[in-house]
């Protein structure tokens, strides 16, 4: 149960959404965008977020698309994880998504909500980082398209009022061989200790990970090291120095165990890749 009062809006256009947001800001109040709403509700009942207004994006028509068009896979930010898994035709995305939460929760959790989550995991982003996707943002000045590496993580890059509308990626990439592994504390349903996704694209290996540090990461330097390495063990020692922030150390796992698992997964990926190439 949420103990505080809040206003709830379901705008039909992106302009309305931004206007309502702006209105609350100008009154010095806290609005928040919502799509699945699962995180907002569960945090609000514990007073971890206390918005004055929830602006639900679910009713905006374009936010629900999930289709291949003009050589691109285009997914709206309010598309649920289950819908994206079954309709994107992107095997890696499907695999990763289906490891998040439960079937029932995935009927509600959305791509936009997962990418903008306050949790460190945001696993749905891993396939998007690997395919160098572009993100269409709604801004007060209209839609703009940006490289995912320039706007993710949203909490560091999105400006106030800006929100995610869609993600686009090259349809040709989706069938490339992939590798994915998620380690949890015990039950599979748990948040990841580490989750690692990799794809083989044109003689390259691409790697992205979640759970290791505060934000999901594309590991470009590691990808290069693996390409060049004679002995796989050689690339493992460098890993820590590539991380932009400390390895997470929390109740899910201590940092040394996280790193151990990560290295082991990387080793598997590298061996697997060397074998394939």
């Amino acid at each position: 149960m949420i103990s505080f009062d809040l206003q709830y809006f379901q705008p039909n256009t992106i302009e309305d959404a931004i206007n309502i947001y702006e209105q609350f800001i100008s009154e010095n109040k806290k609005p928040i965008y919502a799509s699945g709403g699962t995180e907002i509700i569960s945090r609000a009942r514990r007073n971890e977020v206390q918005p004055d207004a929830i602006i639900d994006l679910k009713n905006i028509p374009g936010f629900h698309k999930c289709e291949h068009k003009a050589g691109k896979l285009q997914i709206g930010s309010a598309v649920t994880l289950n819908h994206a898994a079954t309709h994107s035709n992107f095997p890696l995305l499907k695999t990763v998504i289906q490891s998040i939460a439960t079937q029932t929760a995935r009927n509600k959790i959305t791509i936009g909500g997962n990418l903008a989550s306050s949790l460190p995991y945001r696993e749905a982003v891993l396939p998007l980082l690997l395919t160098d996707s572009t993100i269409v943002l709604a801004t007060p000045k209209g839609a703009i398209t940006k490289n995912i590496h320039d706007v993710f993580p949203f909490n560091e890059h999105l400006k106030e009022l800006e929100l995610m509308m869609e993600v686009h990626l090259d349809s040709k990439l989706i069938k490339h061989p992939h590798f994915w592994i998620k380690k949890t504390k015990q039950s599979q349903i748990n948040y990841p200790i580490v989750s690692v996704a990799a794809m083989h694209i044109d003689n390259e290996i691409r790697i992205a990970t979640s759970g290791l540090t505060a934000n999901p990461l594309r590991m470009k330097q590691l990808e290069k090291d693996i390409l060049q390495a004679v002995e796989i063990e050689d690339c493992l020692d460098q890993i820590e120095s590539y991380l932009p922030s400390p390895i997470i150390d929390d109740m899910i796992a201590q940092s040394d165990y996280r790193l151990f698992l990560f290295k082991q997964i990387i080793k598997d990926i590298a061996i697997n890749w060397k074998g394939a190439s």
């Binding site: 015990q186 796992a253 151990f260 082991q264």
Partner: protein, 778 residues
């Protein structure tokens, strides 16, 4: 062989099956009553602190608030064994999540909002996070006035000036002599933190005080009469003026065997002039504010001859009872009286303590101290087997307890009061295919191992634990069975109906059991705990049936013009033994037998029966000598895992139980009961625990982060029963309710220790713990 029973030993489906399957059951909180007020708690954000101020002024500004209650309003400690806990913290708080104030308002939302507005000023105190720390000489005392607390149950030994809420001592034989006889010794320490019961239904209670002074309670509890007893004692209300109603209970696992929310709901109702007030735990409150599953730190030393014969054992159990003793004091005793497990040991010493810490307080958990002691003892048996290079099952077989031996509290065992643990162990050895290898490798580099545990348990019932049954008859000849046993999902009421069906030789469809309990209409019963209900209430059913039969025969003898001895009861009839074709239907006598001319004799048939445990004694404070429980149910369990040495993860492939049930009254229900127990035991052993930060705050009070075993992760279960009758049990039945849990942690830990080649001494057995143990960091 001819099956002598009609209903006993049959797979009879549960009487509440259809209602539950269709979701028609109404649990306590499934009722919305007009005019009902809602209470919410303000709970402590500190694990140990003096409370210097509670400012409720802002809370009163919230619309709809009727009352705000703080510790000052009822500054008296309560508690089931030792009255050490103020229902609302007063002067200091002793655990994170402790209730500090109650707000009563028109809606739950208003109550929650107002409760959040209460400002408490704390003065932090040093925090004790483990029972060993609590035991240290210079540890801060969590209860300064321990010496002044009222002992509610004889046999609780608190030590004023320390953090010891209870100390139980066992001294059997001559321990020094035992060590001298020992050719090998093993010693090890074990630990685990408190965890949750994780019942689906969070705890909830409603109280209304009627203008005539009657206190009407509706609550999800395992002990409606216990709620009545404690409310009466602590609030000075005549017991006759308290009515406790318990609808279906949505899971309990021991966590609803004590009283907490009922006290708070009573205080809340009282503060509003007796209005109906509901208090319902959020999941977080249910996990942290309400009592939890106990933690433990233990050190054990075992001595044996080189052939593996056990010679001596010393146990030190430091239970993490948390901030208040509640049932923790009882569990520390229960673990002591059965400390050796089902093994013959002449020389035993045990010091078992319930320690105060700044953790949420513990109450009974399914198995009452036994899953805990068994984890410790069964790991020790495997350590000893390893040292002696003996097969772990063989070592156990060599030492199993049997009739003629004595327990740690020196109770003499005979063919009735202890089951056949040897047969159980032999059976489980077969079920888990032990002889095909305790450790094998798979082609993909995984390791499959098996681990076993043998166990026993007697129930720590009070020496006057009782149950009663009332039988009334309907005009169609069917029978109503009223009994205060609580249906918590274990199927108890089906089993009681079966016993009655057997006694009356009456179809199950003709037996109507009232599933809800109401202390106004149902005869007194202690509680539905300790695997004691089939025994206590089952015996009461038999007594009540005998009483009803006697009346039926008497009135039947008038109707059929013969002596009562000429008659028998069965199939809804009273009939002549030698000529069953001469009979009178029960329906024609149940409400009085009417002659053709209208004259009526007999009146209503009302059967009554009760049973009370007998010959139990408190145990001697110095030696433990005494009789703690009526009988020992015994069993053995095994677990097979597939372990991945690359990352220390594993899958549980098989779990097996063989239990001496005395007599299985309902095989399908009993098997489910064992499966449910194994599930609970495996879930706890493999993943359940609270995680505390260094301030004593629970970091995972939600199912999102408090892990439980998922359906997709359960093993194949194997269940077998041995039947060594308990002579005074109903049809020979023993208590079995808790037993499926008891050996699981031990068996899983043994299996994994073998797989990882590392001695695992902590729970839960998560991959990271195994990894750390291998690295020598535990």
């Amino acid at each position: 062989m001819k099956q002598p029973f009609t209903y006993i030993g049959k797979d009879i489906k549960r009487i509440d099956l259809a209602e539950k399957a269709q979701g028609k059951v109404r649990y306590t909180d499934d009722t919305n009553i007009a005019g009902m007020l809602h209470a919410k708690l303000h709970t402590s954000t500190e694990a140990h602190a003096n409370i210097t101020e509670i400012d409720i002024s802002k809370a009163w500004e919230i619309a709809g608030v009727h009352a705000i209650i703080t510790g000052e309003d009822f500054p008296f400690p309560v508690g089931p064994m030792l009255a050490d806990r103020p229902p609302l913290a007063i002067e200091k708080t002793r655990y994170y999540g402790e209730p500090i104030a109650i707000v009563v308002a028109d809606t739950e939302q208003q109550a929650k909002r107002a409760a959040e507005q209460i400002q408490v000023t704390y003065e932090p105190l040093p925090i004790i996070q483990s029972p060993r720390e609590a035991m240290k000489k210079d540890a801060i005392t969590i209860h300064e006035n321990l010496g002044s607390y009222k002992v509610q149950v004889e046999g609780v030994h608190a030590v004023p000036g320390t953090n010891i809420a209870n100390h139980t001592k066992i001294r059997k034989g001559d321990i020094e002599q035992g060590w001298q006889q020992s050719e090998v010794m093993v010693e090890s320490s074990f630990s685990f933190s408190p965890a949750d019961h994780a019942a689906l239904e969070p705890r909830v209670a409603r109280v209304e005080i009627l203008p005539n002074g009657k206190v009407m309670v509706t609550t999800s509890t395992q002990g409606p009469f216990y709620v009545k007893k404690l409310l009466s004692e602590f609030f000075q209300i005549d017991a006759g003026n308290i009515m406790v109603h318990t609808p279906f209970v949505g899971g309990a696992f021991g966590g609803k065997g004590t009283v907490q929310l009922e006290f708070l709901a009573y205080l809340a109702s009282r503060a509003t002039g007796g209005k109906l007030v509901r208090i319902a735990n959020s999941r977080e409150e249910d996990m942290v504010t309400s009592p939890v599953h106990i933690g433990l730190e233990a050190t054990v030393k075992l001595g044996a001859r080189s052939d593996g014969t056990l010679t001596a054992a010393h146990y030190e159990f430091l239970f993490d009872g948390g901030a208040y003793s509640d049932m923790g004091a009882g569990m520390s005793k229960a673990a002591a009286v059965d400390c050796t497990g089902p093994y013959k040991l002449e020389h035993v010493s045990c010091d078992s303590y319930c320690m105060y810490t700044n953790h949420p307080y513990a109450t009974s958990f399914r198995g009452f101290g036994h899953p805990e002691l068994t984890f410790v003892m069964e790991r020790m048996m495997d350590l000893l087997a390893k040292k002696l290079n003996l097969d772990p099952i063989q070592l156990r077989l060599n030492n199993l307890i049997k009739p003629g031996d004595t327990t740690p509290t020196q109770v003499h065992l005979n063919a009735s009061n202890i089951g056949d643990v040897r047969a159980c162990l032999q059976q489980v050895k077969k079920s888990i295919q032990w002889d095909e290898g305790q450790r094998t490798k798979t082609t993909d580099g995984k390791i499959r191992t098996k681990g076993v545990a043998a166990f026993w348990k007697t129930s720590s019932t009070p020496s006057n634990a009782t149950a009663g049954v009332l039988l009334t008859f309907n005009t169609d000849g069917s029978v109503n069975l009223n009994c205060a046993a609580v249906e918590i999902g274990q199927g108890t009421k089906t089993v009681l109906a079966q016993i009655l069906a057997e006694k009356l030789q009456l179809d199950m469809n003709k037996i109507h059991v009232t599933i809800e309990v109401n202390t106004m209409y149902d005869p007194h019963q202690w509680k539905t705990v300790a695997s004691s209900t089939t025994y206590l209430a089952g015996r009461a059913v038999i007594a009540a049936a005998d009483d009803a039969i006697r009346q039926l025969l008497q009135i039947g003898s008038v109707a059929l013009k013969c002596l009562p001895d000429d008659l028998a009861v069965g199939n809804g009839r009273i009939y002549l033994r030698d000529s069953p074709e001469y009979f009178i239907p029960i329906k024609d006598v149940a409400t009085g037998y009417k002659y053709p001319n209208g004259n009526t004799v007999g009146g209503l048939i009302i059967g009554k029966g009760s049973h009370v445990v007998r010959h139990l004694t408190p145990i001697d404070p110095e030696t433990g000598f005494g009789k703690p429980g009526p009988q020992w149910t015994v069993g053995a369990q095994a677990v097979e895992v597939e372990y991945d040495p690359t990352d220390c993860t594993y899958r549980i492939l098989q779990a097996a139980t063989a239990l001496d049930a005395g007599k299985v009254i309902n095989p399908i229900a009993a098997r489910s009961q064992m499966r449910g127990g194994m599930y609970l035991g495996l879930s706890w052993a493999s993943r359940e625990t609270f995680v505390f930060d260094d301030q004593g705050k629970v970091l995972n009070p939600q199912f999102r982060t408090y892990d439980t075993l998922r359906l997709s992760e359960i093993p194949t279960y194997k269940v077998d029963f041995i039947e060594t009758p308990l002579i005074d049990g109903p049809y020979g039945a023993r208590g079995i309710g808790e037993y499926g849990v008891i050996g699981m942690a031990g068996a899983l830990a043994n299996s994994l220790s073998h797989a990882a080649d590392a001695e695992l001494t902590e729970l839960p057995l998560i991959p990271e713990l195994i990894w750390k143990t291998i690295k020598g960091e535990v």
